[in-house]
Structure formats: C-alpha cells, structure tokens
C-alpha cells in the first residue's frame, strides 16, 4: 500500500472540503472493508483518505415523513437490527444478512456497499473494470462463471452491491453532497456500466460524498439471494422485489436482479407479467422466466440464468408471504 494522508472529518463540510477533483487525489474511507484491500493490492492508490465514520449524522437511521432516511455510514449490523427497517423494508435486512460475515457487517456501511468496486478477479488483478489485456477482454475468453449474464457493452463484471437492487426496486434516492452543493439521484441512475477501463461504475463524482439514502413508504418487499455457502460468500444471483398490491392482486411490481450485470438489472418484462395477477408458484415462476428473457450468458455462466429465474420466483413468494 502506498503512503497516504489521513483526514478524520467530523462534519460533512470538513469531509467535502478535503476531497479533490480526481480519484487519485482523495477517496472517502468508511468501514474500509473494500478500500483497504484495494489499496494493499495497489488497485487504488489515493493520496488522501477522508474518514467519514466520525460524522455523527451519517451514522443514524430516522423516520422521514412516511418514509425512511438512512445515513451512509450506518453499518450493515445497524441496518439489519433496526426495527423500522425490519418492519417496513425487510428486503434491505435480507440483503444485508446475506453478507454472512459478522466482521464485515460490523464494519461495512451502507455507503460503502453502494460505492464498493467490482469483485471481478481480472479487475482485482489490475486489468481494469472491463478486465482488458492487449485490447481484448479477458472475461469473454476466460474464467467468467461469476460474471454477467446481462452484460452492457464491454462491461462484463457484476455490480457487487447487495443493497443496490433492493434500493432500486424500492425507488430510493441517494443524496450526494459536494463542497459546492448537493443533488439527489435515483438509485437506478446511480449505477452505470462504464465503457472504459478507467471509468467508475457509479454516478458519484470524486468531490462528492454519499450522505444518505431516502426511501418512501414501501409496499411488500423482499430480497432472495442464491449463494453457494452459508459462510462468507458472494451471492451468485439475487432478486429484490417490491410489490404494490390491491388485496391479493398485484397493482405494480418492481423486480431488480443483482449479481447478473454491471448494474442492478431492472427486469421490466417480469413486472409486466405480474400486473393484475395473484402471486402463486406459477405466476412467480412465469415472472422469473420473463425476467431472464434476453440474457446473454458468457461461455461459463449460463447456469446463472437458472439462478436468476429462481431468485425472482422465491423473492416474489417471500414478499407475498406465499408458501410454495
């Protein structure tokens, strides 16, 4: 790891003042569970780290009207054990409990989860987010069983965030603050599929901090993850669903897949398939089927189509409280 300057900010102003205009100038440090390993492997080598864990307002969860405000430095553990989250937004608690390491749940934060870098092994070996060597994609020809089945252009990695799909499904807004002001971005627009090796996979700018996540009151919601291990492991595919119901009839559905593409994947086809229906094993499976239509698997990951399909089915049944 290269040497760096360390700023311990206690207010958002202090923190934003310490950021710079490029990622190599300064980077936000939250729990450090991702950033430090990237720095040790020299994948990221910022000159300055700005610690935000001591900014009090970033560490709380509070009611906001009929909705909820979650500070960006709230830890996974805080999120999963918060009664408001558990009651109104089980989808988030389920996503977080999928991070099966208590250590990471104690250290990792909501903001860090949304801003973490891809786990693509080519990226981690220093071949950039697109995983390139000599102008060619290492992913397409190489070991791609954990990669995207919904690639976007040259981006074959999968967005690592487990909270991302859940927040997109529930229409969350993310507040980004810089020294010169603030803006709110739809969670769906926060994630982007970079088309160059140097680009970042989120809408955050180097001089901005993600300060909070804003959620409106939510309908029925759930996240289902397919993971191989119960111990610390990455999901192979996830689905987060958010349903507005009229009695037992689906009025509207938001279905977002995780770990299948470089951004959370919005399964519009599945949503259409559900509207006006009751959730049963059959309609849920049909939605799963519709969700994966158009998947473009790589040489080793067609199995993820099946996993994504099942994740959608199971998330829907979970959200609707239907036993298959």
């Amino acid at each position: 790891m290269n040497n760096f300057e360390y700023i311990n900010a206690t207010t958002v102003q202090e923190a934003t003042a310490a950021l710079g205009s490029s990622w190599s100038d300064a980077v936000v440090l939250a729990g450090g569970t991702d950033l430090l390993s990237l720095m040790k492997d020299y994948v990221m080598s910022p000159k300055r780290l700005v610690n935000i864990k001591n900014i009090k307002e970033l560490g709380t969860i509070s009611k906001a009207g009929t909705g909820l405000r979650i500070g960006a430095a709230v830890t996974f553990d805080q999120l999963a054990s918060n009664p408001l989250v558990r009651q109104g937004y089980p989808s988030l608690a389920q996503a977080v409990m999928g991070v099966t390491s208590p250590q990471i749940r104690n250290m990792g934060t909501v903001g860090g989860d949304l801003c973490q870098r891809p786990r693509c092994w080519y990226y981690r070996l220093g071949h950039g987010v697109l995983g390139m060597k000599d102008g060619k994609s290492l992913v397409a020809e190489g070991e791609n069983k954990y990669h995207a089945i919904f690639p976007s252009g040259a981006a074959h990695f999968v967005s690592a965030s487990s909270l991302g799909p859940a927040l997109v499904a529930m229409g969350a807004k993310l507040k980004l603050v810089s020294a010169s002001g603030s803006r709110e971005v739809d969670a769906a627009k926060f994630f982007i599929a970079p088309q160059s090796n140097e680009a970042r996979e989120i809408a955050l700018l180097p001089n901005e901090i993600l300060t909070e996540v804003l959620l409106a009151a939510a309908g029925k919601n759930a996240t289902y993850e397919v993971r191989q291990k119960d111990a610390l492991d990455w999901p192979l595919a996830t689905a987060s669903v958010h349903l507005k119901m009229k009695g037992t009839i689906v009025e509207s559905a938001n279905i977002v897949l995780g770990h299948v593409g470089p951004t959370p994947y919005h399964a519009a086809g599945a949503e259409r398939a559900l509207v006006g229906k009751t959730i049963t094993a059959e309609t849920a499976m049909a939605a799963g089927e519709a969700a994966v239509a158009g998947a473009k698997p790589l040489s080793q990951n067609a199995y993820k189509i099946q996993l994504a399909r099942v994740a959608v089915k199971r998330a829907l049944l979970e959200a609707a409280g239907v036993k298959a």
Partner: protein, 716 residues
C-alpha cells in the same frame, strides 16, 4: 528384555479414555505462540518478488533503486538475467526491510524486464497438452474386451477432480536469527528433527549450528517438510542484514500460488460386471497434473485391486503452474473419487444398492472382513436402509436427499522415533522428544502413554517437544507420527520404570521383576499391601535422576504399532435442484486406527479430515486463467472453504474392537481424509439422479449436469 507390550485393553487407566488436549487452553486463549507470532528485537521483514508470468526468461534485473529505499537492509536476487521461469509466482528476488510495508515498496522498485514465452495451464483439455502429456504405458491384466462383452452391465463415465492448493491457516515461513555462527530457527514445519539438516545443506553449514524451536504450528497437511528456498533466503537475508533476525512468511496470494498443490485427476472409466453385482472389468484412461514436473498418478482401481480384468492408461501432464506437494493422503482422494464414483455408477446401471455391490466384491480387496464390519456399522448409523433409494428416486419438491458411500485404506505405521524419559528424585517426570504437534494432539497422546506406563496421571508428565535438541523423531507425515511417538514413549517409560524398580525393590523387600506401577504407587504385583507412593519411590534415587530412552524401529515395531487402516464414510446430502446448491446433512465416518490412545483427539482428527474434504467436494478449486497463466482465486474469497454452517453433522465411530486393538497403534490423519469427496459425489448422484462428473459440486457443475451446458432442460 523388558515387556513393552501395551497393557491389555481392559486394564488401561489412561489410554483409551477421552482426554482434552493439553494445549487447548493456551490455543483458545491466544497464549500459544506460533512461529509467525515470534517477534525478536531488531527484527526485519522479508518479502519476495515473484513472477507475474507463467513462462518467461528474465532479460534483466536491476535492484539499484530498491537498495536505496527507506528501511531496506538487504536485497537478493535468486533468478538473475537468463533464468527461465516456469510458473507465475516463482521467486525472483528478496528484500528485507525494517517494516513489511517498506519491504513491499522496495520489491515494487526492483526493475525486471521479462521475455514472455508461451504457457500451458489448463490440463483438463488433454488434447491440447501435446508433448506435455507423458503417457505411463498401458497396464493390462486379464482380457478386458472379452469381459466387457460378456458383462450384464457396463457403466461408462467421465470424472474430473481439480487441482487444489494448500491453504494452511498459518502460511509457510519462519523467523531466523544468527548469533555468531549459530542460528536460531523458528519454522512453521512438520519436521522439527530434520528441518535443520535440510536447511544446513542448503546453506552449507553444519546442522549442529542450527537450533530449531517450534511449540505450535498452524497446519501443514503435507506441505511443510523442507526448509525450502524460503528458509534459505530468510537466513541469507539475515546474514546480509548484519545478522538481524528476519521474519519471512508467504502472503496469502503467494501461499495459494506456490506453496504446493494437490494434483488433479481426470478419467474416462468403464466398469463392467454381472447382474448380481460382481465386478468383472475396469478400464480407465486417466490424466493428471501436479504442476511443471507433472505428477499425480492415482492408484486406481482403488481398494478393489483384485478386479480380474483391467486396462489402465495414464498420462502425467506438465503445466506452467506451482508444483505439487504431499497432500493429506497423496493421490488417495483422487483415486477414491474416481473408483467409487465409477463403481456407484455401475451399481446404478444394474439398479443395485451400492452397499451390496461393495460387499459383494470385498473379496477383491485386502481386508474383506474389516470392511464388511465397517460398512454394516456405517450403514446402520446412517439409516441407510431407510434413507437410500434408487438413483434419482427422491420424490417431488425441489430438495432432493441422497446417500453415498466410499471406502478408504492407508498405511500409517510409526516412523523412526526416539524418546527420553527422566524421572527425578522429587517425583517429577519429563518426556523429551524432537517431535511436533501439528495441532492433532501429539503432546496429549505421548503424555497419556507415559502416564499409563508409569501408573501416573497426565498432569504428572511434563512434555517437552518442538525442539531439535531433544531425541530425534521423524517428520509428521503419512499418519506415521502417532505410531512412532507412542511406541518410543512406551519403551522409554518402561525402561525408566525398570531402573526405578531396581532402586526401590530392596525397600519393598521384593524382586524388581515382581513390581508394578499403578495408581501413583509402586507395589508388588498381586500384593498391594507391599507398596510405596510414587514420590517415596523417587526419593530412593538420592540426587540423580533416571534418564532412559526408547526407540521405535519401523523394521521391528514389536507389536506396538502397525500399518493398514480401513475406513468407511457415508454422506447424506440435500440438493436444491433449482439452484444446484448442495447442503450437507451428515457424514458418518467409521474409522479404524488400530489401538486408540485418545478417543477425543482421534475423533477430532476425523472431523478435520471430513471437513477438509467437504471443502474439496463442494467448493475448492484452483482457477487458472489461460491467457494470463495465473491463479485467479489466490485468496480466501473465491478459493472457497466451508464455514461452520456448511458442514452439517459429523458422526464418528472409532472402530474400537479387540481385533483392531491387538494390531497396535495406526495413524489416522490420512485415512480420515480420503473417502468424503467420493461419498458426497455419490450422495449427490443418488439425490438428483445424474452423476455430476466434475468436482467441486458447485451450483454451476450441478446445474450443468442436470440441465446441460446451456440449461436447455431447466425450463421443465
């Protein structure tokens, strides 16, 4: 000559009773200091520059900038210009500096120009191996073609088990400190008594100048016998740093890249036989790699070596990848997986219960009676009769349960070992042995043997191991330790006791040959009224202690230890056929290790073996990139290992039986770590109705076996 035989089974007071590990508290409280915990005054840190390329030559190397970096005390080059490198991760240069970050910075400042050459890393595609595949020559017995023709049933399958990489919790390494021309050496090693000699040869110094200390170590599994270039360069860095102590341990990525692999194995196998289950023929075409030097020839057919008609072809493939090292039961896991998968497939073909097929053919093995007893026991413990079903016949619903079985065999005779027992006038007893406790309970077991032999209790024995100043004991590998150290301890204790009897006999007015040590007393056999406490007896020594040794000679173990253990494991799994996720319900392990000294640590050994192989069956595999020629998962994130919730229940039955006991002590480390992978693979086949040819049984492999590579049938 004294009678060294083990006390009769029913008269043992200490041996055969479960005893906690002597070092359990030290370990769980963090007081136990491992070699990587050793910190010395003025210590510097060694870091290695390794090759990023799988095959290359070094065009030039320039360390000038590195030498000038802050804190650097030494820079060494072991792969100078012109050197050909055959795998990514191979060592090129070495830096010592006052802190590890400084050493890493300096490593990055070394300028190397490489001439990159073509590499080959993916041995499963044998057709692409060309001249890198070295055929071993066909082996035939009987008439395979005729037997295949005459058979009632023939199964045919492809089976694949990948390269695994050693991933000991404590990586390979050591701390070395020169004191004048003498050296203090703290290695993480499986060989306290021999590792100094090995390092001395590399350094061309007398072995007597090297003092080895190692109280604890964090796992070896076959990968930690030699001192390695890591030890030699650590010593040289120390010399070059003016004698400063150097700590050099591999980092995790390097550990998983070059610290030794378990070879892979791939095979197309046919098994043929009669309707009644009799196996008549075996035909296999197999290949494997253990890295650049090839290697890895699994002994197949495993255990059922007497199959009358056999044709075997095997090729060893050389790849540009880190080399093989012994791996808990070298070649046996692969052989067991290939053989028992193929036999299970044959059983499924003729629609017979695989247990009955195995029993039917036990005449083809070397230990029919033992296996039959173990198979029946395991069958009963696993509820086989109730839970087993014809392949794939596992009901509706997406969770399918299945059972699978496999057998193991291993040697496990004791290695050469010497032990010294001192009985002091104050009654204290010291046991000295140049052995090591890899975490398996060696310390505890030798204390139990000494206590049993001297009529004392375990806390009465002060155990001193992990130091090459003590009498020489063999390296811990191949399950040879327990037989060796228990036999030498027994002999040393009996010899020491004989001396004590000579001293106390006059006071008891008895013939020394008539004395015995029981319950903390020395007494006349058959006449407990004529007795003396242990303490009182030892006072008769005056001012001089008794110091006696005992040796285990593998050529004449005198019935104390022997070789040849059999075992049976049954796996019980549930497979989610929608996701391909396999969950362990239970593993039943019936394990034979002859005479069982400590049932508790013996059981733990089996737990460890089973857990290691649950990882091997379900998750572990080294992933190589063909373009880069590098390991992609040299980390603890995608080199997947099981956590506690992934393991399920493990039920161990130590096959304690007079027939086994009278054979003496047999090692258990390897035998417990052989058959789990095969048993799990068979259980999955039983559950889902098809063989998953490829280990690990991960969701992609399971779903591919169920639905085809493009998931064609998954919409059903």
């Amino acid at each position: 000559m004294p009678n060294y035989s083990w006390p009769p089974m029913d008269q043992r007071k200490v041996m055969g009773k479960a005893h906690n590990r002597l070092d359990g508290f030290a370990k769980s409280s963090g007081r136990a200091k491992y070699p990587s915990d050793v910190n010395r005054e003025g210590m510097v840190y060694g870091v290695i520059l390794t090759s990023p390329h799988a095959h290359c030559t070094i065009k030039s190397i320039d360390t000038t900038a590195a030498q000038k970096m802050p804190g650097v005390t030494a820079v060494r080059v072991t792969a100078p210009a012109g050197t050909e490198i055959q795998w990514a991760g191979a060592e090129i240069a070495w830096v010592a500096a006052d802190t590890e970050p400084h050493a890493r910075d300096a490593v990055r400042a070394i300028q190397v120009a490489y001439n990159v050459l073509p590499h080959f890393v993916s041995e499963e595609k044998k057709s692409k191996a060309g001249t890198r595949a070295k055929p071993a020559g066909e082996q035939t017995t009987g008439d395979v073609d005729e037997a295949l023709k005459a058979a009632d049933g023939v199964s045919e399958g492809y089976y694949a088990i990948p390269v695994l990489t050693h991933s000991c919790l404590e990586p390979h390494g050591q701390v070395i400190e020169w004191k004048g021309d003498k050296m203090e050496y703290w290695p993480s090693s499986q060989a306290v008594s021999t590792v100094a000699g090995d390092l001395a040869q590399q350094l061309k110094i007398p072995a007597s100048q090297i003092h080895v200390s190692m109280d604890y170590m964090g796992g070896g599994f076959g990968s930690k016998f030699p001192s390695d270039i890591w030890g030699a360069e650590c010593a040289r860095l120390s010399k070059d740093s003016g004698g400063k102590p150097v700590k050099l341990f591999l980092d995790r990525a390097t550990e998983l890249t070059i610290a030794g692999v378990r070879p892979s194995a791939y095979a197309n196998i046919k098994v043929a036989g009669k309707k009644d289950g009799t196996i008549t023929a075996w035909q296999s075409e197999s290949w494997a790699t253990g890295g650049f030097t090839g290697g890895g020839m699994p002994p197949i057919p495993y255990i059922f070596t007497g199959i009358p008609n056999r044709r075997l072809n095997h090729a060893a493939i050389s790849t540009n990848a880190g080399g093989a090292r012994a791996w808990r039961a070298p070649n046996h896991q692969q052989a067991c997986f290939l053989t028992f998968s193929a036999i299970e497939d044959f059983a499924a073909k003729i629609k017979m219960d695989p247990v009955e097929v195995l029993v039917k053919n036990l005449g083809l093995t070397a230990r029919a009676a033992l296996y039959e007893r173990q198979i029946r026991k395991a069958q009963e413990m696993a509820d086989w009769k109730k839970l087993w079903h014809q392949r794939g016949d596992s009901g509706s619903g997406n969770i399918k349960r299945g059972l699978g079985i496999a057998l193991s065999t291993w040697g496990g005779a004791g290695h050469p070992s010497e032990c010294r027992i001192k009985i002091n006038p104050d009654g204290s007893v010291e046991l000295e042995q140049g052995t090591q406790d890899l975490g398996v309970g060696t310390r505890t077991v030798v204390a139990m043997v000494a206590a049993e032999s001297l009529g004392l209790t375990v806390p009465d024995i002060k155990v001193k191991i992990g130091d090459n100043a003590y009498p020489v004991s063999g390296p811990s590998g191949g399950s040879t330790t327990v037989g060796g150290v228990s036999s030498s301890t027994r002999k040393a204790a009996v010899n020491a006791l004989e001396q004590l009897f000579l001293k106390v006999a006059p006071a008891l007015n008895a013939d020394p040959a008539k004395l015995e040590a029981v319950g903390g007393k020395i007494q006349v056999k058959g006449d407990p009224s004529k007795s003396m406490t242990w303490k009182a007896a030892c006072q008769k020594l005056g001012v001089s202690s008794i110091s006696e040794t005992g040796k285990n000679d593998p050529k004449n173990p005198m019935g104390l230890n022997t070789q040849g253990a059999g075992g049976v494991q049954i796996a019980d799994v549930s497979v989610d056929v929608e996701t391909g996720v396999v969950k362990m319900n239970r593993v039943v392990a019936v394990a034979d290790c002859g005479l069982v000294i400590n049932p508790k640590t013996a059981e733990s050994q089996v737990y460890g073996g089973v857990i290691m192989n649950i990882c091997g069956a379900l998750m572990e595999e080294r992933v190589m990139d063909e373009t880069l020629g590098r390991v992609l998962n040299a980390d603890m994130e995608f080199y997947k290992l099981a956590g506690i919730k992934d393991i399920g229940e493990i039920v161990v039955h130590m096959d304690v039986h007079p027939d086994n006991d009278k054979r003496g002590v047999i090692g258990l480390g390897e035998p417990s770590a052989i058959s789990t992978i095969a048993a799990i693979s068979n259980a999955v086949a039983n559950a889902i109705g098809v063989r998953v040819p490829r280990v690990p049984l991960s969701p992609d492999h399971v779903l591919t076996a169920l639905y085809g590579k493009n998931m064609e049938r998954s919409r059903a």
